[in-house]
Structures are given as structure tokens and as C-alpha cells.
Symmetry: C2
Subunit: 348 residues, 2 copies
């Protein structure tokens, strides 16, 4: 049915190798180039990427494994990456592993069978067992947002520790002393980093961390709701709360709404991610905003470099650290009565 290079060769009277050379940037005489292009037009020829893939052992496809597709943080990054990769001829196969390490492993095996040229992973399994195998085959792996102990490959990370430190420091500066935090699962890299930032801020402010103000959430909306409720129940003196990812931020807002708590009069809040959501909250929520577009760009560039498409790939693994921004809303109360002198906190 569809025309092949053989047809082009016959039609133009040229050899198969010449046709191939034409498509692969080799040297072809002007008049032959014209002949070939004419033939392509007439026969509606289109190169068969599958056949090419068989020969070159490259599929021009890259796999992306993430914990949840239904998560703006993930989709914002994927949108950006997909855009860049597609413009370079690479297709993106996205696998949602439902935050389940076993499914993640399966997804990686699936992608390996599909012979993707590289994998980008926001890992759920802290061991990263599936990736090692893939990586051993000499194919590039890039970790997104979370590190894996003992797997040295390229990483694109966010300075989560500093991010939460900044958020908590802002609250201290506003006079808060009992700041709750809805933290994430201990075993997840970002969650533990964020909790460290919370501790850092306390240290810097010279205020001891109280265990009862730390609530171990699970990065879900439901977890955010129950986490918020238990924080409030356990800590009558608490005047502010930080939620450490988007889902739990939504959960926190749900809880606050259902309990009828007035923000920021009764409680100050700082959330995470999704500026649009923050602005739609009542009152507008102050949040830590992650640089999703830059993450996408860095990740895609790193991948393209590793694939030898463009840019230089460094010999060793590369780690990119990106910074977050604290975006002010109306959910943090001004200096509380009795607060010490306020510190200058970057133009918020």
C-alpha cells in the first residue's frame, strides 16, 4: 500500500543507498535531490519509523513514569517536557503508577519492552530497582523531583528544604510561634526534605520543634483533611499551618471550610503549588510555588543531551537544583499582638 524507499529508488532510477543518504543528511547531487523530492510528493512517501527503529535500535520514544497523572504538579511538568521532546521528534509515553511501587516497577518493565530510548521518572519506590536494569542497558534515566539513594543518574530537583524554611520563617517573622505542618510520607525524598526545612527554620528562630505540631500526611487530599483536623484538635494554641503539597493543601482548605474557621483571623495558612487554585481560594492563599516549567525544560534538555540530539552531555551524572518562590496571598495574618520586631522578608 504505502510507498517505500524501494519505490522511490525505482521511480527516480537511483540506488537505495542514495535515497537513504538523502533522508539522513548525506550528500546528494542537486538534480537528484529534486528528483527524489518529486518522487516523494508523487508517491506520498513517508519514512517508516518502525523499520528504521529496527535497524538503528532507537524508537525515538521516551517513557515517563509518574506517581499520578491527576496532579497538576506532574501534568505541568509533563506538558512542558512533551512539548520540547515532540518538537525534536520524540514521542512521550506517560505511565501513571498510582503512587504504587509495584505498579511503578511494572510500568518500567513495560517501557523497557516497548524499547523506549530513555526514561524520566518521578520515583515512588525509594529503591528504584526497575531503573537499575534499564540503566545498565546503557539507556539514559533522569530522576525528576526525587532522588534515589545509590542510583547515580541525572536528577532535576527542587530545593524543598529551603522552600519550607522560607515559608516557616515568614510565619515566624509575622509573630507566629506555634506553626503546624502537614508533612508527607517519611520515605518520600521531597517530604523529608521539606520537614528538614521546617526544622531548620525553628533552629534559626531559636524555637524548639514540638512533635504535636507535626502531622504525618500522605500527600493526598483525604490525608490533608484528616491531618488538618487532627492538628487543630491536638493544638489549641496553633496559629498557623503549612501544607507541604498541593493535594494536602486542597485537603487543608476543605477542612478549614467544613470547620468554619476564619482565615487568616483564626489561623494563618501557607499552601503548596498551583497558583490558580491559591488565587481561587477565599481568601487567596499564600503558597510555595515550584518552578515546573524550568523543571520541564531542564529535564528535557538533559534527556536530549544524553541521547546525543543536542547539547553536550557531561560524563558524570548531573544534578540540577531549582529554586521555589513564595507567593503571597491573604492567608497569613500580619504581625500578631505581642510579636517582636518583624523581620524583612523579601517583598511579600
Amino acid at each position: 500500500m504505502a510507498a517505500t524507499m524501494k519505490d522511490l529508488a525505482r521511480h527516480t532510477g537511483l540506488g537505495l543507498a542514495t535515497i537513504s543518504s538523502y533522508f539522513n543528511g548525506g550528500n546528494v547531487r542537486e538534480k537528484n535531490r529534486i528528483k527524489i523530492e518529486q518522487a516523494i510528493e508523487e508517491l506520498h512517501y513517508e519514512v517508516n519509523e518502525v523499520a528504521r527503529g529496527l535497524k538503528t535500535n532507537a524508537t525515538h520514544t521516551i517513557g515517563v513514569v509518574i506517581p499520578e497523572l491527576n496532579n497538576t504538579f506532574c501534568t505541568e511538568i509533563i506538558t512542558g517536557m512533551e512539548d520540547i521532546l515532540r518538537s525534536r521528534g520524540y514521542a512521550t509515553i506517560v505511565c501513571d503508577c498510582r503512587t504504587d511501587a509495584a505498579l511503578e516497577q511494572e510500568a518500567i518493565e513495560f517501557l523497557t519492552r516497548k524499547r523506549v530510548d530513555g526514561i524520566i521518572n518521578m520515583p515512588v519506590d525509594p529503591a528504584g530497582s526497575g531503573l537499575r536494569e534499564f540503566s545498565k542497558a546503557g539507556k539514559p534515566v533522569i530522576l525528576l523531583d526525587r532522588r534515589i539513594q545509590g542510583l547515580d543518574c541525572d536528577c532535576v530537583l527542587v530545593d524543598n528544604r529551603r522552600a519550607v524554611n522560607e515559608a516557616a520563617s515568614l510565619l515566624f517573622a509575622q509573630g507566629h510561634r506555634n506553626i503546624g505542618i502537614i508533612s508527607g510520607p517519611r520515605e518520600i525524598y521531597t517530604a523529608s526534605e521539606r520537614l528538614k526545612g521546617y526544622a531548620d527554620a525553628h533552629k534559626e528562630a531559636g524555637i524548639p520543634v514540638q512533635e504535636s505540631l507535626i502531622c504525618q500526611g500522605d500527600y493526598t487530599i483525604r490525608g490533608g483533611v484528616s491531618g488538618m483536623i487532627s492538628l487543630i484538635r491536638r493544638n489549641p494554641h496553633m496559629t498557623a499551618v503549612i501544607a507541604t503539597n498541593y493535594e494536602m493543601t486542597v485537603g487543608m482548605m476543605i477542612a478549614v471550610n467544613e470547620l468554619g474557621i476564619r482565615i487568616p483571623d483564626e489561623l494563618s495558612l501557607i499552601g503548596f503549588d498551583n497558583l490558580e487554585f491559591a488565587r481561587a481560594c477565599c481568601p487567596a492563599l499564600s503558597i510555595v510555588s515550584q518552578p515546573t516549567m524550568e523543571m520541564a525544560k531542564e529535564t528535557a534538555s538533559l534527556m536530549l543531551a544524553r541521547l546525543g540530539v543536542e547539547g553536550e552531555a557531561s560524563s558524570g551524572p548531573e544534578v540540577k537544583y531549582l529554586r521555589t518562590r513564595l507567593i503571597g496571598g491573604r492567608s497569613v495574618s500580619g504581625p500578631l499582638p505581642g510579636a517582636e520586631e518583624r523581620k524583612a522578608v523579601g517583598g511579600l
Copy 2:
């Protein structure tokens, strides 16, 4: 490097055809089956899907083209589809076309070059020009959420007309008489259907439609904000507003927050999609909820049937119509039916 079927043949002393037959469900004698499986184990053999694809002319890959990845309605559906398709061995390549018909066309061409076995499309271009070509090649196309005039292929739709009719009727029943609507772009199928539902409800209630209460939005957050503001400015007597997609619902909430309007005392609201967002709003928003999971399931099943993987494919094009649900919050003045449903969902 990697073992091939030839290696298996040599290792087992069997013929190539027998090995192939083993993998394709043909008859193989017990003792040979064991021999083959042992060889697979020893040589770590894995079938090369690319080579197989060249021979069978099938890539076991399906393309999905959507207007925005960064859109819960889309991602919820994709999550469900990807799950089902992957479990049947099909990879999903998602292309985000940024709500741009030209980019959509490009995405479809890209997928055609990648030789996907089928395309699922939530179309932006009402002409669907790119799809016709693909469809003519005998490969299945399934339209999601929106119809294309004159392209008769399988569709999975939602009864949008009835959905908005129900929403408006509810408002009428609560005594509202001046109901604003933030509508979508006229050329988009769902938008025009939703507007029809709005008109239907007026007809049924015997109340004439007022042009000034209809605001033509563009399905974006920004459009929702400005649409809401202009509606309020133009209609002092308006007591309720319906936003007709998720983004504009968010926009509507932003506007309401920034203008300091009290809900539902000064204005009643009904939004669209994303139950979680609705519950996080203050007060909880009443919304029209679309059956994204069913849409995903129907679409994937339809595709698998067309691909001959499972289920029966009907000869003619199939159109699935699914129903929405109206989920009550606290954003509509007066008592709202369906309160017990909200409780059930609210059992977080």
C-alpha cells in the same frame, strides 16, 4: 547483545517457526515448550516489539490528542484510559495541542508518522481535517467529548445539554429568575450544547432568555474571571451564575473572591467538574460532575474492540452518551436536593 529468536532456536535445536509459534499461541509439544521456556530464562530473551511491529504493521501504541494536559477533566479521562490500554499491552502517546487547531493537526501528523494503531481525540478543530486522512488508512479514530460534523466515527459524549438544563432548572426551582451563564466558545461542540441546555430550561420554566445574562467565555481561567466581572457589572438583578467548565469555574471563584461577594447570600453559583475543588471552595460549590471514569472506560473499550483485541466492534460508528450528575454544595441559596449525596461523597 540481546538474545533473539534465532538464539532460542539454536539453543533449543528447534526451528525459528516453532519458536514464533510458541509466542503466538500456536501448538508446541510439551517437552519443546519446556525447552523454550528454559532457553528464554537462560538467555534472558525478550521479544523485540519493534521487529514484530515491522512485520505485523502494528505498533501496539495508540495516540491521544487533547486540548490541554493541564486540565483535570482531560487527565482524569486519560488516567483511566491509559490504565486499561496498558493492561492490554498498548502504550499511550499523549499529545497536548494547547487548544490550537494547527498544533492539533501537527500532533495528528506526528502520531501518523509514529504509526500508532489508533487515535483518540478530544478535537479542537471543528473540521477535523487531520483525522480524515488517518481514518482513511483504515485505522480507528474515537472522538472524545466533542463531535465533528460530517466525520462519522465512534464518539463518547456527555449529555451536556441536559446537564446545564438540570443546573438551570434547579436554580429556577430555588426561585431564581435572573440566571447568568459563562458560556464557552460557540464553535466548540460542548459549549453550544451547554448553552442549548440553558435555553431549554428557560423554555420549560416559561422565562425568556436575556442576552445580557449570557457571557461568551473561552474556557480559560482568565476568561472566567473577566466573564464573571462583566456579568456582574451588566446585570444588577442577577442572583445566580452557572460556569460551564472547570477553568471558568475557577475564574468565577477568583472574581467572586476579589470582588468580596458573599456566596450564596448575594449570589448563587453552580460550577463544573472537579469535585475536590468544589469541596475546597468556601462555601462548598454546587457543581455539574462529569462521568470521567466511565468516559475513559467506554473509550478504551471501544478502541480495543476496533483493534480486534476484545469485545465486538459494531459495523457502523457507535455513539455513547453518558449522563452527568448534579452535586450539591452550599453555593445555592435555599435547600438543595441531593444533600445526602453530598454527605456520601463528603465522607473523607
